[in-house]
């Protein structure tokens, strides 16, 4: 059996409060999940359940309090070099033009300038941004900035894509366009993807498998759903198929309890 692209093994993340050092907050407790090679996995869960924490652990940006992370069978230490991370917030360097942002990873890796520029131009074209090379991030729309961010990551050809609600700040139409484009790009070389979202529909439309997390604190996976919808998919059309509706209903029932739990807890505080 081949090693999974990513294995999070009994991960627990506990944070100490800065003001009151005795107070502990456990965001994630004993979470185990894996992403197979070439698999598109979505993690859904109610707000504040530690989804981003889990992703930061997978990226190597955060050390778990216990448990270990394996990338292609090797224990991760430091930054995950096999992974590309797409953030929820604006991650582009505002002082760099689109093309300079896209080639940043190559530049850090010591690729020669002309070669890096050629490849960056090529990637900008692949995400539909030819002619916008010299624009600065503030001169691009939200959707365009996400495309630049996507090109910035894909140019390094990572084995694993970590995506933290990357399209949540976009309007519905732009978002569906981006989702379709992501699926197109993904289908060409089938990277392993760990995609985090709070949107069930997005999760079902995109992924092969959906993992559901419980409400925080101490959240952990509470269910797993295999999405047996045929590919290639169109995220807009697939929402209307009976199987999609069936999966959605089934998952929503399971998730509703968790959402209510989380809501009740937030009311108490």
């Amino acid at each position: 059996m081949t090693n999974p692209a990513l294995l999070l093994d009994h991960i627990t993340c506990t944070f100490a409060s800065r003001e009151r050092p005795d107070e502990r907050y456990t965001a994630i407790r004993e979470a185990t999940l894996q992403v197979g090679s070439g698999e598109f996995v979505c993690v859904v869960g109610p707000t504040g359940c530690g989804k981003s924490t889990l992703l930061n652990v997978a990226a190597g940006l955060l050390q778990p309090s216990s448990g270990n992370v394996q990338v292609l069978g090797e224990v991760l230490a430091g930054i995950n070099r096999c992974a590309g991370y797409m953030f929820q917030a604006e991650s582009l360097m505002p002082w760099r033009s689109a093309i300079d942002n896209v080639l940043a990873g190559l530049q850090f890796g010591g690729v020669e300038r002309l070669e890096a520029e050629r490849r960056a131009r090529d990637w900008l074209a692949r995400v539909g941004l030819s002619g916008f090379e010299q624009r600065y991030p503030h001169e691009l729309s939200g959707g365009m900035r996400k495309r630049v961010a996507l090109a910035q990551i894909l140019i390094l050809d990572p084995r694993l894509l970590l995506m933290d609600e990357p399209f949540s700040a976009l309007d519905v139409q732009t978002r569906q366009l981006m989702e379709n484009e992501l699926l197109d790009l993904w289908s060409t070389d089938r990277k392993s993807v760990l995609f985090i979202t709070h949107d069930l529909e997005e999760a079902i439309a995109l992924s092969d498998r959906v993992i559901m997390l419980s409400a925080g604190p101490a959240s952990h996976p509470i269910g797993e759903f295999v999405i047996d919808l045929p590919r290639p998919r169109d995220v807009n059309e697939i929402r209307l198929t009976p199987r999609f509706v069936e999966l959605h209903t089934e998952m929503w029932h399971k998730m509703k309890d968790e959402v209510l739990k989380g809501y009740a807890r937030s009311q108490k505080n």
Binding site: A59, L61, I79, N80, R81, A83, G84, Y85, F87, A89, E90, S91, L92, M93, P94, W95, R96, S97, A104, G105, Q107, F108, G109, Y136, P137, H138, E139, Q152, I153, L156
Partner: protein, 275 residues
């Protein structure tokens, strides 16, 4: 006043600026010219001129300085001191700002002393520097550096602290090493903070040079002003101040030009104008 196009309203504003200046100068002239208006405060009609100088006299003084060439040596010395203090203070401020912002231990250690040194009225140091470094330009440059350093330092420190954590994490995920983070993330991110401090810094470098000269020197515009004050020559004092003001404005303009060139990426708030 109806709605005007941006262009004509700018021209109009410039006109008002000139009119305001002209009005003030005329008021000054009218109040100080002996015999122009009946005396109402001073008994002696030449007394106002003695205390407040006269605009035409001041202009004549400036003209003779530049035409006769007497000013160039002094102005050159003052500008040299200003630029040296500015350059050295900025580089030191930048280096220390980066270092302390990136090293929590050093920052915690130095914090109270930096605060104390910043709070200290440093103008008092000028005479001490004159004793330590003599009456030449060194004492003025050192004094200017103590003024410039803190402004730049605190801004760089703040600028580095405010680097977006997401941009930083993203650069790390893209494989940036520690040195590359410094060069490609921290420094560019801090530049806009640095530039906002440079406007203040260039002004303070000027203050350092002139105050230093004023307190003890043999050359420089501050020295000229001090000499003139010694003989109650108000016209020369005002002429010196005017020359200094013009050059401070020129230096500030140069800083602005460099700023616009280096910070092209920054969104300009007035990119579109409402018509």
């Amino acid at each position: 006043m109806g709605r005007a196009s941006p262009r004509t309203s700018r021209v109009r504003l410039a006109l008002y600026h000139v009119l305001l200046l002209g009005g003030v100068l005329f008021f000054w002239y009218a109040m100080t010219e002996p015999g122009l208006i009946p005396p109402f405060y001073f008994d002696d009609p030449t007394r106002a001129k003695f205390f407040f100088g006269q605009p035409l006299e001041v202009l004549r003084r400036i003209w003779s300085w530049f035409y006769g060439g007497a000013i160039y040596l002094h102005l050159g010395v003052t500008l040299l001191e200003t630029l040296l203090a500015f350059a050295i203070g900025t580089v030191l401020g930048l280096a220390f700002g980066l270092w302390l912002a990136l090293s929590p231990t050093a920052s915690m250690l130095a914090d109270p002393y930096l605060k104390a040194m910043n709070a200290m009225p440093r103008v008092i140091l000028a005479p001490i520097f004159a004793v330590w470094f003599g009456l030449g330009i060194t004492s003025k440059v050192v004094f200017g550096v103590t003024l410039v350093f803190f402004v730049v330092f605190f801004n760089v420190y703040q600028g580095v602290k405010e680097v977006s954590p997401v941009v930083l994490a993203n650069a790390r995920m893209l494989g940036a090493s520690g040195r590359q983070l410094l060069r490609y993330v921290y420094l560019p991110s801090a530049t806009s903070w640095v530039f906002s401090s440079l406007h203040t810094a260039i002004g303070l470098a000027f203050v350092g040079a002139v105050v230093g000269e004023y307190l003890g020197s043999a050359k420089g515009v501050g020295y000229l002003i001090h000499q003139a004050e010694g003989v109650f020559d108000i016209d020369t004092v005002l002429a010196g101040i005017l020359v200094l003001t013009v050059f401070a404005l020129i230096l500030d303009f140069v800083v602005s030009q460099i700023e616009t060139r280096l910070l092209v990426w920054r969104p300009r708030s007035a990119e579109t104008e409402m018509l």
